[in-house]
C-alpha cells in the first residue's frame, strides 16, 4: 500500500480500546474511532440525572478517550438495529441480560460496513483473550470475525500474537512483532502498558460497558418484558429503567418513584406520557405509573408515594394525581407503612 493505511477503532471509553488504538497509531496508521450508542451504554448522563453524583466528572468517556488520543470519533445511533441483538441473541445471554457475543459480532459488523463505506482498510478492537467469560474466549474470537463478515480485517492488537495473523499483518500494514499477547483477567499488563505509553487517567468500568451486565438493571428489564408479555422496548422504556425506585404492586402496573431532585427533574420530562403523582402537602418525590390503572390502583399508588415523601409519618398526605388527558385531582391518603409493602413489589 502506497498511502497511509486507515483503521477504525471501536472505542468504548475504557482502557483496553484506548491502548489497542495507541499501539496501532504508533505504527503510523491513521485511526478514527467508532462508538455505538445502543441505549444501554453506561454514560455520563446517569451521573447527570442523579444530583448526588455531581462531583463526578460528567464526561463521555468515549469522547474523552478520542480527545486524549487525538483522533476523530464517530458516534453511531444503533438503538433500532440493536434491539434484535438484545431480544434474540443467537448465542444467548451472559450472567445477566448481556448478549456479549452477539453484541460484539453486531458491532464489528457495523464497523465493517463503516470501513467499506468510508474506504478504510481494517478494524481494531481492544479485546483481550480470556478476559470476559463470554465474548473474549479463544474459541469465540473467530465467531466474531466470521459472523461480522470482517474476517481477517479484524485486528485485536492486545492479543494479536495469540491469534492467527490478520491481513493487515500479512500485508505489512502492521508489524506483528509490535503487537501483544495479553490474556486472562488480570488488568496488570494493561496498567503497565498504560504507564509505559504515558497514559495516566482512564476510566475503570466495573463490570462491562453497558447496563445489561448489571444485575439490578437486568431484573427490571426482565420484569418489563414479563409484564408486557413480549420483549419489545423503546428507548424511553430502557432509559426509565435507569432511574428511580421501581415497584410493581400488581401485575398490570408499576410505579417509578424518584429518589432525589435530579431524578424528579428527569421524570418530569415524561409527565405527559404517564399518569403522574406529586405530594402537595409535604415535600416528596415525583412518581410515574406505567400501566392502565383504575381508581383503586391510583389510591394504592398515592399511598406508596406518600410513604416516600416527607409526610411518611403523617396521618394524611395530599397527593396530586395528574392524568394523561391533563385532568387532575388531589387525594388525601394515609401513607403505607413499610410493613405493608411486600418485598416482592420491589423490582
Amino acid at each position: 500500500m502506497s498511502t497511509q493505511p486507515k483503521a477504525v477503532a471501536l472505542i468504548s471509553g475504557g482502557l483496553d480500546s484506548m491502548l489497542a488504538t495507541r499501539l496501532v497509531m504508533d505504527q503510523g496508521v491513521h485511526v478514527e474511532g467508532l462508538n455505538f450508542f445502543t441505549g444501554f451504554c453506561v454514560e455520563g448522563h446517569t451521573h447527570a440525572i442523579r444530583k448526588q453524583d455531581k462531583t463526578k466528572p460528567k464526561r463521555n468517556n468515549a469522547l474523552w478517550v478520542a480527545e486524549q488520543l487525538g483522533i476523530k470519533l464517530h458516534i453511531v445511533d444503533v438503538i433500532e438495529p440493536y434491539k434484535d441483538v438484545v431480544i434474540n441473541p443467537k448465542h444467548g445471554y451472559g450472567a445477566n441480560l448481556n448478549p456479549c457475543l452477539d453484541c460484539k459480532g453486531f458491532m464489528v459488523q457495523k464497523a465493517y460496513e463503516w470501513i467499506q463505506a468510508h474506504q478504510f482498510d481494517f478494524i481494531i478492537t481492544g479485546e483481550v483473550m480470556g478476559q470476559r467469560p463470554m465474548s473474549q474466549r479463544k474459541n469465540t474470537m473467530p465467531v466474531v470475525q466470521k459472523e461480522s463478515g470482517a474476517g481477517d480485517l479484524l485486528v485485536r492488537p492486545l492479543c494479536a500474537k495469540l491469534l492467527p495473523p490478520t491481513r493487515p499483518e500479512l500485508e505489512g500494514w502492521l508489524d506483528r512483532e509490535q503487537l501483544l499477547d495479553f490474556s486472562g483477567r488480570s488488568r496488570k499488563p494493561q496498567m503497565a502498558l498504560a504507564a509505559r505509553l504515558g497514559i495516566e487517567d482512564y476510566a475503570q468500568p466495573a463490570g462491562g460497558c453497558c447496563f445489561l451486565t448489571d444485575q439490578a438493571y437486568s431484573k427490571k428489564l426482565a420484569d418489563l418484558w414479563q409484564a408486557r408479555g413480549n420483549r419489545e422496548y423503546e428507548l424511553d422504556d430502557i432509559m426509565l429503567l435507569k432511574v428511580g425506585r421501581h415497584l410493581r404492586p400488581k401485575q398490570h402496573f408499576k410505579i417509578i418513584i424518584s429518589r432525589e431532585e435530579g431524578e424528579s427533574r428527569f421524570l418530569e420530562g415524561y409527565r405527559k406520557q404517564f399518569v403522574h403523582l406529586i405530594t402537595t402537602s409535604h415535600g416528596g418525590p415525583l412518581a410515574l405509573i406505567d400501566g392502565d390503572v383504575d381508581a383503586s390502583d391510583i389510591q394504592l399508588a398515592a399511598q406508596l408515594v406518600a410513604r416516600y415523601s416527607q409526610g411518611r409519618s403523617a396521618d394524611i398526605v395530599d397527593v396530586e394525581v395528574n392524568r394523561k388527558d391533563g385532568s387532575s385531582e388531589v387525594l388525601h391518603v394515609t401513607p403505607l407503612s413499610p410493613k405493608d409493602i411486600p418485598e416482592q413489589w420491589y423490582i
Binding site: 454514560e43 451521573h47 460528567k58 464526561r59 463521555n60 469522547l63 476523530k72 470519533l73 458516534i75 427533574r265
Partner: protein, 77 residues
C-alpha cells in the same frame, strides 16, 4: 454561510451529540449550527466533540434548564 438548528431537548447524552454530528455532516464549513438541549452533560460533550472534529463553539448559553450551544462548522471534513 447558512444557519441551522438542532432541537435536542429532553434527549440525554450522547443523543444530543449524535444529532449535532449528523446535522453537521450535511453542512458546509462556516455554517452556523445552534443546538438546543436540556441535558447538562451536553455542555461537556458537545464542546469535546467539536474539539475532536475541528468545529468551533461560539457560545454556550444556559437559561433555566435550557442550554443553547452555537457552533461554527469546521472544514476538516
Amino acid at each position: 454561510m447558512s444557519e441551522h438548528t438542532v432541537d435536542a431537548k429532553r434527549l440525554l447524552c450522547p443523543m444530543p451529540v449524535i444529532r449535532t454530528q449528523n446535522k453537521a455532516e450535511e453542512l458546509a464549513a462556516g455554517d452556523i449550527l445552534t443546538v438546543i438541549c436540556t441535558d447538562p452533560g451536553a455542555t461537556n460533550d458537545i464542546p469535546a466533540w467539536c474539539r475532536i472534529n475541528g468545529h468551533k463553539v461560539l457560545d454556550i448559553l444556559t437559561v433555566d434548564n435550557e442550554i443553547t450551544i452555537t457552533i461554527e462548522v469546521g472544514g476538516l471534513g
